[in-house]
Symmetry: C2
Subunit: 180 residues, 2 copies
């Protein structure tokens, strides 16, 4: 990893995905890398972290994920909003999204899919359950390795509201809680 990122504990990954940020899913089919934009995901378990996500069978990523069973969930911040939308509006069948949108692939440690260097966090994932794919396009992923940019203390994640509108993460409040 050439990024200034550090390894992030798997037991804390839920705190990155629970708030519902848009993520950029990267895959690799041989040397051909792709990116898709995704908002339909949820945590399913804490540690090892399991993530459920919907990837439509109309997306180029669907076939690659089924075949390679590997991807990276890259979490962008507001600075990348244009690239997020651009990746959502184009297909990897026609466009090399890394090149076209000026994003930098970096080698992952546990999967062949690339990390997006510009994203503040990256979750290397393996597909562990495809029983819900046929009916709901719902893949279950295990996070194998997580990376975070420690300099981003309050990442301005973006949260899709539909049709190109995004809520940008605001202030953080803290309440006494026994909840994990």
């Amino acid at each position: 990893m050439e990024m200034a990122k550090r390894s992030f504990p798997l037991s804390k990954v839920y705190g990155l995905l629970e708030p519902g940020p848009v993520v950029m899913v990267t895959t690799a089919a041989g040397v051909k890398m792709n990116i898709m934009t995704m908002s339909w995901h949820t945590m399913l378990d804490f540690d090892p972290p399991l993530v459920g996500c919907v990837i439509s069978n109309r997306n180029y990523t669907f076939g690659i994920l089924k075949k390679t069973r590997e991807c990276v969930l890259n979490i962008p911040t507001a600075e990348l909003a244009k690239q997020v939308v651009a990746c959502g509006n184009t297909s990897g069948r026609k466009v090399d999204k890394f090149k076209t949108f000026g994003l930098t692939p970096a080698a992952a440690s546990d999967v062949k899919a690339p990390l997006i260097d510009e994203c503040y966090a990256n979750l290397e994932c393996r597909v562990v359950d495809t029983k819900m794919v046929a009916k709901y396009n719902f893949f279950i992923l295990e996070v194998l390795k997580a990376w975070i940019d420690p300099s981003k203390k309050a990442p301005r994640t973006i949260h899709h509201l539909g049709r190109g509108a995004f809520m940008v993460a605001g202030v953080t409040i803290k309440l006494p809680s026994k909840m994990k």
Copy 2:
């Protein structure tokens, strides 16, 4: 409905849940109503809206939902943060959360579970698939009816970051997009 809420198109429900707000799940076991706090949910389909969510088998709500197959997903804003945490830190086995935390139940139209009047949006749901419950505590819900408070133009939803920390929805940005 005594609330100043209007019916909300089912085709637009995804825009309420995609950004990942904490929701308060209400159920009814006969006359006994309950509330639980939940962050592990995702859209699965647009219209009719399907929602997948994790409700732990340790939660009082789990048994009620399995039996009644009905619930309401109530979306709170920052004003309700204390009640959200309080509902997460207590069990309906011991506490009447509506009474204890000063929340107001309102009659739903299509299910017996109550709406939480103070929440800015309410989604009446029926359980439509329990195949993933045994392994992942993952329920699939169909939204039958949606309500929204039309006066809340930019609802300050709250998004759990772990251990009582919440990100409060910030500004909204809009980009040209072909994405739904």
